[in-house]
Symmetry: C2
DNA sequence: GTCTATAAAGGGATAGAC
DNA sequence: GTCTATCCCTTTATAGAC
């Protein structure tokens, strides 16, 4: 509208909210335009296609988190402390964008080829950083032996699944929305304890 | 075609393969008809809508597994043995229907209201069966204390996430399809060990 | 930059002939 | 029971006026 140069930003912000906060993963360009209070054609004017809008919005939302996580694992904190901080970042991010994980899973399932576009090779690099640290920790006798792949799979599973399967677990445990929030917050401690079989460090 | 009364079954079988084995979760009625070698209109003749075809196929595929799992937890085996058997059933099922979990997650995300239709209250009952057994096991000192909800969440997470996030993990760990199969099979032992902090029982 | 109008494609569902 | 033809709705994308 009258906001001059801000229309592009407005569309991005609106899309981000719709997809990652409200979880309306099938939202149409019309829906986005309506909620932003702009004309549908403007979305194509600025972003060419729905596809590319998603791409941009996703990249931007993911960039900061990725930065933080890389910093954690490249620091010289003790390994377990790193995991503890990773859990903080993860839990934190998912209160701002509760449907990010759903978005990722849904997208890669509907078109596995697109994994490239959304999650480019950064993850591999992260593995190269973490695996040696993990093996070192095992060698020092600080944790039970486990293949790095399985440790990472366990970590990511226990973080992400309760988000993508929220409707299932929420009903199974008969929790209302607030109850489920509490449940998710408790998970930081639980995951740490499950991975290392000991209570997490006090802050 | 000439197969007389078998057309309905043929359509169901084809749909089941497309969705749960091949993972083509967005398959259209046309696609299903083509692959079954029948006319598209027949799908509507037998099942009224794409929606209802899915419903039927899913229910049938899920029924047997649900039966088995209920039987396990209603038996009088030791609790840990039950979990061990649950893991067997789960892993086994997911080699027959590798995309079942993806289907569930994708469906409930695109329409959370439909959880009712697909996964009716049976799960709640299962919780009522398992929770007391779990608390008993903790009381007996056979495992570390944990809220039942988190134990179940951990179990389901570590089973399901590696399936729904296959493209992510596969690339992250640089595994080919066979490598990933092996990885999934290893998980039975890993999950048991992670949950109980001890090696699973020999068969 | 922003709007209206319209093209173009995809896919679910039904009517009616055979 | 099976097929063809058709309807109808949704949604993306663009052309062109303002």
């Amino acid at each position: 509208m009258g906001d001059l140069v801000e229309t592009e930003q407005l569309i991005k912000k609106t899309a981000r909210d719709i997809f990652f906060q409200k979880g309306r993963l099938k939202a149409t360009t019309q829906e986005i335009a309506d909620e932003a209070g702009v004309n549908r054609a403007l979305i194509h004017y600025y972003f060419r296609s729905r596809e590319q809008l998603l791409q941009v919005v996703f990249e931007e939302a993911v960039a900061e988190t990725r930065q933080k996580i890389a910093a954690i694992f490249e620091s010289d904190l003790p390994f377990k402390k790193k995991i503890s901080q990773y859990l903080d970042v993860f839990i934190d991010r998912n209160f701002r964008y509760p449907y990010m994980q759903n978005f990722i899973i849904t997208e890669i399932n509907q078109n596995p080829d697109k994994e490239d576009d959304y999650l480019n090779k950064k993850r591999e690099n992260l593995c190269r950083t973490i695996f040696p640290q993990l093996n070192e920790e095992i060698k020092k006798g600080n944790m039970a032996p486990v293949k790095p792949e399985h440790f990472i799979a366990n970590l990511m599973s226990m973080c992400s699944y309760p988000l993508v399967a929220k409707p299932i677990l929420q009903r199974m445990f008969a929790l209302d929305d607030d109850g489920y929030k509490t449940f998710l917050q408790e998970r930081k401690q639980v995951i740490y304890k499950t991975l290392f079989n000991e209570a997490p460090p006090k802050e």
